[in-house]
Symmetry: C2
DNA sequence: GCCGATCTGGTACCGGGGTACCTGGCCGGT
DNA sequence: ACCGGCCAGGTACCCCGGTACCAGATCGGC
């Protein structure tokens, strides 16, 4: 049985979703919320909610923030952001916030049901209208950009230093952060540059970012 | 009428897809190919193909390379990569190659038909099984980090310089690239650092990357 | 015409970045 | 016991990066 929570500030929307989902034998609507705050409370009080349908525009706490806070809760439900076409620009934000699904309200009841089952199974779902935007994003960030830094055989300490270079720290700050002397940092930096083939710390910083060393 | 090309090295698969699609009144199978090379030829000889279903594993020219070369052709069809579950790791590569869809062969005939209509309409589609991986990728590249550099009021030249800083060039190379003297570059760099509030060029480089100035 | 912003260029100066080379301690493997 | 790695540290040196300040050219707007 898939247990679902519905968060939308409009009573009618909640009722509609609820009717649609309850029509399925394997789906149960365990909670309803009129804003993000109510959703968080519901999830905190009921640890067995599998999926949360969340609207973006809600009073008190909007859907995206609620999604982010939800992620901090243990046994957090998978979030499907269900919103109007006007809000389709929020896809990337929703994904970044941790959503496992993004549906437009113009979709069919069948799509909604399928989406709930999909994310409950650990997969993810996007409305076709917004998938294009996501693909463009992936193309833009480019898969070629990701660097495998294991290839450089950096030692643990050198990796630390590289990460801090990528964060924009100068040698003094790195020494400070790692409780080292300036000299030691310099030697590490020199080694990092040599191993990674970077001419200067700027190149190294770029490499660090491409390698995902900086969040 | 949606005109489709099918590229798969297995005759039986092509026949199956063809039968499924031809069952729809608005879809026509205009070409079939047993490898990527044949697909390219078919598309070059028939400029009215809207959608191409492409398998990854094909002799002569594989599906991903074919997709990349397809992008160079004018009025190129939208590509849906249709492949086995074993190849689901190629999603990101497929997207980077320009695919507008990624389907697993285990999907239903209805899914296939819907996918063709979806990409023909300019949208995109992903199998639920691989959507999760794509979302993880988007989350990893971090959209929250995106910086709006319009806020810094940089002039055109300063923006040029910032972009090159982000690419890891030193002042000499920037001067070379922009046909400027070293002094001029230094002036611009100083202005960029002041306007962006960056302490040194490393910080500026990080900013440039976060702002999307470097591809 | 005048003013301001932008682009371009120069000189001079200093500090941090980066290199080269050496010392020493700590561990793990042979 | 010895060797090789990683880590930590020091000294000395050079050069690029960055700042400060100035100045001429162009261009658009009041």
């Amino acid at each position: 049985m898939i247990r679902v929570a519905i968060a939308d500030d409009q009573q009618l929307v909640r009722d509609g979703f609820s009717l649609i989902l309850r029509s399925q034998a394997d789906i149960d609507v365990a909670a309803e919320a009129a804003d993000g705050q109510q959703l968080l409370e519901a999830v905190r009080h009921d640890s067995r909610i599998d999926v949360a349908l969340v609207d973006i525009r809600m009073p008190v706490l909007d859907g995206l923030q609620a999604t982010r806070e939800l992620a901090a809760i243990p046994h957090a439900p998978a979030v499907i952001v269900v919103t109007t076409f006007d809000d389709d620009a929020y896809v990337l934000d929703a994904i970044a916030s941790g959503a496992r699904g993004f549906l437009l309200k113009r979709c069919s009841a069948r799509d909604l049901i399928a989406a709930v089952r999909t994310v409950a199974a650990g997969e993810a779902i996007l409305s076709a209208e917004v998938t294009g935007a996501v693909l463009d994003r992936v193309r833009a960030t480019g898969p070629a950009t990701h660097v495998e830094l294991a290839a450089y055989q950096l030692t643990a300490r050198e990796t630390d230093v590289l990460a801090l270079i990528g964060a924009g720290l100068n040698n003094n700050e790195i020494a400070d952060r790692l409780y080292l002397s300036m000299s030691t940092v310099k030697t590490h930096v020199t080694n990092v540059l040599a191993k990674t083939g970077s001419r200067d710390r700027v190149r190294a910083a770029i490499l660090a970012i491409r390698a995902g060393l900086t969040p």
